[in-house]
Every structure is written in C-alpha cells, then in structure tokens.
Symmetry: C2
Subunit: 278 residues, 2 copies
C-alpha cells in the first residue's frame, strides 16, 4: 500500500543507508553499529526462543527451558515481512498474536471518516495484536517499517498453554499491562504537551526501548518516516521537520537521514518533561 521512495531503507543487511555526503562524515564502524536490524533477515522456519535476542522481553521471559520448549511447539512460523508490507489488516479476524523478532512496525487505525492515525510503534520483543482480543478483530493494521521478522502465536493454543503454565499466564498479563501503561504515556504526551516536548519524549522513549533491547542508547535509526512520526504525535510533518532542525541547532541531536544520535539526552528529557535514566 504505502510505496516508499527516497529516504527508504534498503532491503538487505543494514538498516541504515547514507548519502555519499553523509558517509564521508560518519566513520564506517559507527554506521554498522547503528543498525537496528539483526545481521540478516533470516527466513528459518524452526522457532527457537532460546537463542532469540529478545527472549528476555518477549513471552519466554521467566519461563523454564521446558516451558519454553512447549511455547516453541505452538509457535507456528517465523516470517519475514518486507518494509511496507502489512502483517495484518484492520478488520482481520483475530487468530494470532505476533511477537516481533527483529525490525519495527507501526499500528494504524482508520477512523470512521477515513483518516488514518498511527497509534503505536512496535519494536523487537513486543507483541502485536493484543488489542484485538476483546472484539476478535484487529482494530488497526500493522505495517513493517523495515524488513522485519515475527513469530506467530495462535492465540487459542497460547491461551490453553497459559492455563497450564502459570509463568506464561503471568507474562501475558505482564505484556498486556505494559502496553496499557505505555498507551497511558502516549495519552499524557498528546494531552497537554507542546510539539517540542512531544518529539523530545518520543526520542527519549525510543532510545530507552532500544537500550532495553541491547542497542545503543544514543545512536539509533528512526525507522519511521517523518510523516508517521508527525501523525503519531498529533503534529504535521513540517513541524516535526522544523523541530528536528532546531534540536540539531541546539546540539541536542545529530541527524543524518533517519540515523539519529542523541547528543544531550538529559537536555531532551528536560524538554520532554520526563525523567530519564541518564
């Protein structure tokens, strides 16, 4: 649906691509280090949680090796989703949750008047589809922002297994609750904060989420286009662009295309009106 040109991410190995001009300014080693994506977009069909990089955040968290084994048995496949492709569409019947192994997604709700609203950016280790349980249909669609891979968890089986494995039930409650808490943060953000505070908060938020996943806290890719960031934050692309320029002038961040370096995270946190781990 969304055709991506220009600043788009490459299909292959590295999630970051620079213009020749930019490359001259960034050391090659750091460019590689910036990648949010694992080395290659594997398309292995055997699911193995135990060597998955996000197991500490995903459903296996807190489970015994034996229980993880049972979880692996119901996990149907690990698919590669290309940038721009949809994992599921709005209105699709709810049958499975999807755990993100690598890459990133946006969740988009289409309002009654046809307008789209980005409601969530999802990173590795997070589950997509939790909000579909109560109505048994996905209220939003999920689109890959870069080449991504996911594990599909048929919910009926997951539910049955959770009945037998207390740790799994706990972890599902945990992921539900965590997502609920995050949504409240978004509501807070959109509620009363200035455009400046919103963008600063998003940068801090994404930084912290990447940190928990073992990536650099200060250097990462904003895999989403400006227009999606704007939509998510309740702003326009122009305002986001202006703010990014201003933040650069204020030496809070450094930007090359979609690669971001946070130069002054405490400063951003102050703007955002949140405390930060720095």
């Amino acid at each position: 649906m969304t055709r991506q040109g220009g600043y788009n991410l490459p299909e292959g190995v590295n999630a970051v691509r620079f213009s020749s001009k930019a490359v001259t300014r960034v050391a090659a080693g750091r460019v590689i280090g910036l990648s949010n994506e694992k080395k290659s977009a594997e398309q292995i069909s055997k699911v193995s949680c135990s060597n998955c990089s996000v197991r500490a955040l995903c459903l296996p968290a807190g489970l015994t090796a034996q229980d993880i084994d049972r979880l692996e048995q119901i996990t149907r496949k690990k698919t590669v989703i290309k940038a721009g492709d949809q994992l599921f569409r709005a209105g699709d019947k709810f049958t499975s949750l999807y755990a993100i192994r690598s890459g990133s997604f946006k969740s988009v709700v289409i309002a009654a008047d046809g307008s789209a609203q980005v409601t969530h950016f999802a990173l590795p280790g997070e589950l997509l589809g939790l909000d579909a349980y109560s109505t048994q249909a996905h209220p939003s669609y999920a689109e890959a922002l870069e080449n991504s891979s996911v594990c599909e968890l048929p919910f009926a089986q997951l539910e049955t297994l959770a009945q037998q494995v207390p740790g799994l039930q706990k972890q599902i409650f945990n992921l539900f609750s965590e997502e609920l808490r995050q949504e409240k943060d978004v509501v807070m953000l959109l509620g009363k904060r200035s455009a400046e505070a919103r963008l600063a908060a998003l940068l801090i938020n994404i930084s912290e989420r990447y940190t928990r996943r073992g990536y650099s806290a200060t250097e990462f890719n904003l895999t989403m286009p400006r227009i999606d960031i704007a939509n998510y934050l309740g702003l326009t692309a122009e305002t986001v662009s202006r703010l990014i320029s201003r933040f650069q002038k204020q030496e809070l961040i450094k930007v090359q295309g979609r690669a971001i370096t946070l130069l002054d995270k405490p400063g951003l946190a102050t703007l955002a009106g949140v405390s930060c781990s720095d």
Copy 2:
C-alpha cells in the same frame, strides 16, 4: 486532596442535584431517572456478583454459577468511596484490582514536572489497576468522582483462580484487551481532532458506555467537573465551557449543571467523526 465546592455532587442518595431554578424546569421523575448511581450507597460486606447490576460487563461475565461462587470467595470487600477520595495513590504497591460496582472514577497520572493528566474515566463494571501489573506499582491514582462502591480483588489469588478457571482467564484477557482498545480510541481522539470533535466524541463515548450498563443513552450525568474533562481532552476548561454552550445553541445537547441530555446523537457523532449506534 481535591476539595470540591460549588457544583459538587451530594453525599447521599441521588447523584444529581439541581438549582431551585433548574428543578422547576425538570420533571421530578426524570431527575430521578437521570441518576447514574444505584439507589443507595450500600455498605454490605458480603459480595454477591449474581445480583450485581454490572455482572455482565465485569469479571463474572461468561462464568458458570459455580465459578462465580469461587470468584466471590476471593473478593475481599465492597467498600464505599466518597466523592473526592482516592481508591489508591500513584506509586502504591500493586496488590489488587478494583471492580467498580457503582459510581465513577478518574485516573490521574502525575508527570515528572508535577503536572497532572487525567488518563481515564472509569464507569461501573470496569476494572481499575490493570496498568499496574507490569511494574507492580500504580502509575496513576484513582479518585472517586461521586460516592462509589468497588469490589477488591487480590490479584495473586485472582491469578491462581484464573489458572483453574479458563473462563476467568479469558475474561481477564478480555478486559485488558478492551481497555487497550479504548486507550487507542483516546490516542486517536487526542491525535488530530479538533476541540469540537473531542468533546462530541467524549459525549458519545460516555453515552454508549452508560447504555451498555442499562442506563439511558441520552440522559446522564457528566459526573466529572469541566476542568477534568478539559484535562482529559487536552483542552482548557474555558474551551470546554464554550463548546458546551455552542452545542446547546446548536440544539445538540441540553445541559443543567452536570446533567446532560443528548438531543441529537447522530449530529454529535458526525461532529466527532465516529459512527454511532443510533
């Protein structure tokens, strides 16, 4: 904490109070009919889900009589919370969920900079505290907007019971998912909609939620003060007040203090940019 004066709700039987002027304009029968609160604020300690008016929406939904009985056994008490009192404070250790039997609450998060944000209005049959599970501490405080009663559900026991009763696990997932979906609706609302659309959407939303609880779809109390509505919608009290006046002039609603009559629900739905059940 929040001292309430002026337009405050009475302590006693009826949630609605009118000025003498207003009373002359509203038939007594309809005033009674407007009440969002059940007849009296009972303080019975024996929990009985089977004769609770919100059982169809609350945890017992879909359970057998036998399972409801087990649920009742772990439900610790039914307390009356006075208007303005807090059910739990932000930062309190998470031990229980609270099911609202009658009345209404607001959830408020205090940001790092000290500013408060109303993140949710909770009505009978809804659970408070779901967002505290992942961190084991309440991120927000819950304050009664009118005299209310709740059932306390110690979560450790609820979790154990859910392990044994599949329908209960399902229903907990369901309430989590439903709240998540609702939060997404709020994000959509705050994202890009005009002040007018936000207020219209809130009125529609509250109307539909009361309808599901068996109250009138067109006549109900906005139990929350304007300032809370404004905070929740990311607006100022002045803007909310102006909009309410304008909606009255446009004959979309009729307002007496906090009592609201929706005169043109489809019209409001159009403004809100949502479809409605009317």
